[in-house]
Subunit: 386 residues, 2 copies
């Protein structure tokens, strides 16, 4: 399996883009990544997207976007794995280049959610859950996570305010990210006073939807060289695993088995351990998911995710900085694009391009994208090339 | 790039399956393929599907189906490229195994279309075209193909009846395929008298929608051996290419540029030529697509596809047998599953399992799956292993 490197990244602001179509957003991110990579052309274009067939009445985004960005002729298709669609498109690009099937590939995650009635978006988000056993019974994504959070609080003795640091940290970091949806510092008081969405999840526990696109370009490592002032970044691991799609089918719903499994595979593939990870862009769609992700990936003991956050260890100066560009909570969560935002943000850190939230001595970064309530989890580890 | 072989296939009948869910259909095909392969477990499950998010209110089919068939833990996602989603899932499986990312992969194409109002299905099919420049102007898939067929007849001097052999051949072959939707022989008179759908396309030019699933399992060739009475089949080429998504953006709308490009890549990759192909499962969603596919892939001169059909060369006894199990026209076209049906049918021919339509001396077969009106085309070549 030949090694693969990222040589270009691009993104748009996460926002309500009333003046941009789905195609504009994907094109803006993809063309930015191309310019950044120095390439004029790629062999393949893989698109991560969840709901354009419903929200935008446009499927077939592979051909749609390849055509738009001048890559007519390239191999294309869309990868969909609900909220982990972005990382699935990147994983496809990595496998395509690693296999030798293509010599260069662009992965672009895109979602355009704010043009549609919110009821339709909520219903489409619920299509990531089990149609018969969950969504069909009236469960939405927020309610599934609310059940998990309430149970977690009960099992481990946490109070609502103990989850505040996840949101406070994400919003603080987003202040320095021009691509983030929110630029608004919050504190514990604001967190506690936010409107309740689905008890115990309030507005400050839940990531916002949005429109956005993020992209990256990969080629074989041995063909990658310094370009436009930045070095290539090695894809040290690319791994995926699933759990049951319905939460109630899990023996232990408070342990993200697929995060553990894909994380363990990624550690094994890269020869690294949690202690080697300098930055972790995790999937904080809800505060509870941030806590569970830290635990499943070896950064906190079971039930101790909030402790890590309360101790400041998730901040830029802590042991395992998360959401360094705002995370899903404050950068925003355009679902099919999110996995690509996470990857772009890790690459920014490894290149030293994270400006106001740049970490020091960062050599290795990890991104983890979750589809459904932990049912599909894709983990990537990136490493600086010496 | 390590070589990859097919060791298991499975399929359901294409039909109106009122008693089966999307999950049942995919599971039936996938479990049949597993049983056929002799494997108990696979590392990855890739699902080809176009419209379940709308037609079945269920996305995230990777986790959904992996869970259902007992492959919880496997890597999964869905590949979508409109009507070429099936072949896209197979290509993903090939790249995953070829890259060394996984040691075994299941590709399953599935579509469940007959539960939804037909208006919704027609609208969803149109999401494979350009939302702004085609579907948004009122064009459906039938009308796009009707424009192509009318122009083709004008350019090359063909009459309506000259397209009859495509449909007659497909229906004749489907008589022997228990998995085909239609078991009804037709003749030129019946073809000519069929109800008009969109002039000049009548019911006998257009493939029917349906519910169905088909699956295949791939592993590295060097690990494949004879199992359950059949030999492995080599994936000699796996190639994809795109054209513009909107038909009017093409310099020559009557030439399937992406079929030519992916076909040429496949010939080069396998070291074969059109003369070596013993069976060609092409994408006869409409008669005109069968004619254009034969021309773009080197089996007929420009404008001479109907001549090949009229001369009987597309029949089982002809130079290049097509639709040997009924094709899209008579086996049926459950859109996201179709590409996998084509692959399963080529493997049946190479294994000598095609019963009443078994070809003699068949060593090499080709399948070609088209997404949109020729905008994404994926070509596979399969070869017997000596």
């Amino acid at each position: 399996m030949r090694q693969v490197a990222v040589i270009g990244i691009g993104q748009t602001k996460v926002d309500e883009h009333w003046d941009k179509s789905l195609r504009d957003l994907a094109g803006d991110a993809a063309l930015a990544a191309l310019a950044d990579s120095g390439l004029q052309q790629v062999d393949a274009v893989y698109v991560g997207n969840m709901m354009s067939g419903s929200a935008n009445r446009q499927q077939h985004l592979g051909a749609y976007i390849a055509d738009w960005i001048g890559m007519r002729g390239a191999e294309t298709f869309r990868a969909e794995a609900a909220c982990s669609s972005g990382a699935a498109s990147f994983r496809t690009a990595v496998m395509a280049v690693a296999s030798g099937a293509v010599e260069s590939a662009l992965a672009v995650g895109v979602e355009k959610m704010t043009d549609s009635p919110i009821g339709e978006i909520t219903a489409q988000l619920a299509t990531a859950a089990d149609a018969e056993w969950e969504a069909g019974q009236g469960l939405s994504f927020v309610s599934l996570n609310a059940l998990l959070m309430r149970r977690y609080m009960h099992e481990h003795g946490w109070q609502k305010e103990h989850f505040a640091p996840f949101s406070v940290n994400a919003h603080a970091n987003a202040m320095h990210n021009p691509f983030a949806r929110f630029h608004e510092r919050i504190d514990v008081e604001k967190y506690m006073k936010a409107s309740m969405v689905n008890d115990p999840i309030n507005l400050m526990d839940a990531s916002p939807i949005g429109d956005g696109a993020a992209a990256a370009i990969v080629i074989p490592l041995d063909q990658a060289s310094r370009v436009n002032g930045h070095s290539p970044v090695l894809v040290a691991a690319s791994c995926a695993a699933t759990d049951s799609i319905a939460v109630h089918h899990r023996k232990d719903p408070l342990f993200l088995q697929a995060a553990y499994a894909s994380g363990k595979k990624a550690y094994d593939q890269s020869g690294l351990t949690p202690a080697d990870i300098n930055v972790f862009e995790l999937h904080d769609a809800f505060s509870i998911m941030a806590a569970l992700s830290l635990e499943a990936n070896g950064f906190a003991e079971r039930g101790q995710g909030p402790r890590l956050a309360l101790d400041g260890e998730i901040q830029l100066t802590g042991r395992i900085p998360i959401a360094t560009r705002g995370g899903l909570k404050a950068r925003g969560h355009p679902v099919g694009a999110t996995g690509m935002y996470q990857i772009v943000e890790v690459v920014q850190q490894l290149r030293g391009e994270a400006a106001g939230t740049q970490l020091e001595n960062v050599r290795v970064g990890m991104s983890q994208n979750i589809g459904g309530s932990g049912s599909n989890i894709i983990t990537h580890i990136f490493k600086q090339v010496k």
